[in-house]
């Protein structure tokens, strides 16, 4: 079973979002990195870029295939994890920590609370595990 942490929220597309002051940090879940396999390429937006909930904000590629990254919230990118783009294999090693992808300034401060909590995301994983 993949790891799910209690200190953050989740999307159905297997991104996580975590509050950090006024910003929200975004990455992909342990389940997502496990299904992708070895990550070899990452494309992230520039700071200042406006992103929209449910729309793609970047691309992650494993040896096998390219997958879109989906924004958990509306907002503006304020910081990007540059070292991770240079060494994307970090996504497989520490998806909840060092392999954060972007920090965003949410357009609406309360939207974060509407995301799935750890219990709901765990239930989603159990349901999709057949």
């Amino acid at each position: 079973m993949s790891k799910v942490l209690d200190d953050r929220r989740y999307t159905e597309e297997h991104e996580w979002a975590k509050k950090e002051g006024d910003a929200v940090v975004v990455g992909i879940t342990d389940h997502a990195q496990g299904s992708l396999g070895d990550v070899v390429f990452l494309e992230l937006p520039e700071p200042g870029k406006k992103i929209t909930k449910g729309k793609t904000f970047g691309v992650i590629e494993s040896v096998k295939a390219a997958s879109d990254l989906y924004a958990p919230l509306d907002g503006e990118v304020v910081e990007v994890n540059g070292p991770l783009v240079a060494a994307p294999e970090g996504v497989n090693k520490d998806p909840y920590g060092a392999a954060w992808m972007i920090k965003i300034k949410p357009a609406n401060a309360s939207a974060f609370e509407a995301l799935m909590d750890a219990a709901a995301y765990t239930a989603l994983l159990q349901k999709t595990a057949k």
């Binding site: 390429f41 494309e43 040896v63 096998k64 390219a66 294999e89």
Partner: protein
């Protein structure tokens, strides 16, 4: 229809493999990391369950003549105990499948076919036999056989622990029938990784025992993900990606598996031969080429290739970031005259035109391998 399982399914799940539906089979895509599995095959030895592959036997008087008329490579130019890579073509000269033909004797052949094509291939071969050599026995034995591919520079040592040191004398693309852990099977020095290695054909009931022994002898279980990156580094085609029923072997740069009649050398015609003779005389209009990305990014199946002016000149058939060479590589059909080695082309990767160089295939050749 529920996917089929190979006799090794339980062993894969117990090892913690990620299983995927592939060509109607539940197969291991990776056990831990496809990168590590890939490197194990390049540097030491790995083992793949390829029991999903199909085995069609052609047996009886006249089998040699029949097989010569069936595939592009010439079964008369190999000896008993030798195997050859070949195209199984339709009347248009395009691929029904790519196959390995094993010649046991002039009256007994094994045609190893892709899992995704086995029903289609068997129907085609059986129909050809019915029309041309009705006395031949053509049997689809895919459900009886398991196949383990033991691949890598140390594969021979692993296989020797199961089959004896005699296997060291089996040459590349040669095989013999013999005991594998005491049970009769086929020991073939063939593979799909670009490394030295063996493909062991064993009866289903025996597969688990052989798998366990191969792993105990030091082979790392490897999944389909690294099988794909290994074959791509080695410049080998994958049916459905790089070759299909819209492309001929000459377009796929596989002229070496096409034996056409030459002055002084007769050639019994094979299906599609007239098309290839004409195509060879006229010249092909497109060619499968290797590409190496210069800009940062990865090309994938279906991406378009463009010239400097932006005009589309081709289509990517396979592409990845390779674990061993550690660069982004791809194969693509390119229109002539845009096929010259060393030339720069541009691959459309999600709207960005990334620079790539046309390079000679294969991308990787194992140390000490003879030049093709």
């Amino acid at each position: 229809m529920a996917p089929q399982r190979t006799p090794l399914y339980d062993a894969h799940v117990a090892t913690g493999a990620t299983m995927v539906d592939f060509a109607g089979f539940e197969m291991p895509v990776r056990y831990t990391s496809e990168r590590e599995e890939h490197l194990a095959v390049r540097n030491a030895v790995g083992v793949f369950d390829v029991s999903h592959m199909g085995e069609v036997f052609v047996e009886g008087a006249g089998a040699l003549e029949f097989v010569r008329g069936l595939v592009t490579n010439d079964a008369a130019r190999i000896v008993d105990g030798q195997a050859m890579y070949a195209g199984l073509l339709n009347e248009h000269g395009t691929f029904i499948d790519d196959v390995i033909v094993y010649r046991f004797s002039p009256t007994r052949f094994l045609v190893c076919v892709n899992a995704s094509n086995q029903e289609k291939d068997f129907a085609w071969i059986a129909a050809q036999a019915k029309a041309k050599a009705p006395a031949l026995a053509v049997t689809n034995q895919g459900a009886l056989w398991s196949q383990l591919a033991v691949q890598g520079p140390k594969a021979v040592d692993v296989v020797a622990t199961l089959c004896g040191d005699g296997v060291r004398d089996i040459g590349g693309y040669h095989f013999r029938e013999g005991a594998i852990l005491g049970e009769q099977g086929i020991i073939a020095r063939t593979g799909y990784t670009g490394e030295d290695g063996f493909e062991l054909y064993v009866k289903n009931a025996h597969a688990k025992q052989v798998w366990d022994a191969v792993v105990a002898a030091g082979a790392l279980p490897c999944g389909l993900a690294c099988r794909d990156t290994l074959r791509l580094e080695a410049g080998m085609c994958l049916y459905g990606n790089d070759i299909d029923d819209e492309h001929t072997p000459l377009e796929a740069n596989l002229g070496w598996i096409v034996k056409l009649p030459e002055p002084g050398r007769e050639r019994a015609p094979f299906v599609g031969m007239d098309v290839l003779v004409a195509q060879k005389a006229a010249g092909t209009t497109r060619l499968l080429r290797g590409l190496e990305l210069v800009d940062r990014g990865i090309a994938r199946h279906g991406y378009t290739v463009h010239d400097e002016g932006g005009a589309q000149i081709g289509l990517v058939t396979s592409g990845t970031q390779t674990p061993f060479l550690n660069k982004a590589i791809a194969m693509a059909y390119l229109k002539k005259p845009h096929t010259e080695l060393g030339h720069t082309v541009f691959i459309d990767v999600r709207g960005k035109k990334l620079k790539a160089t046309i390079v000679k295939l294969p991308f990787y050749r194992r140390p000490g391998a003879a030049k093709a």
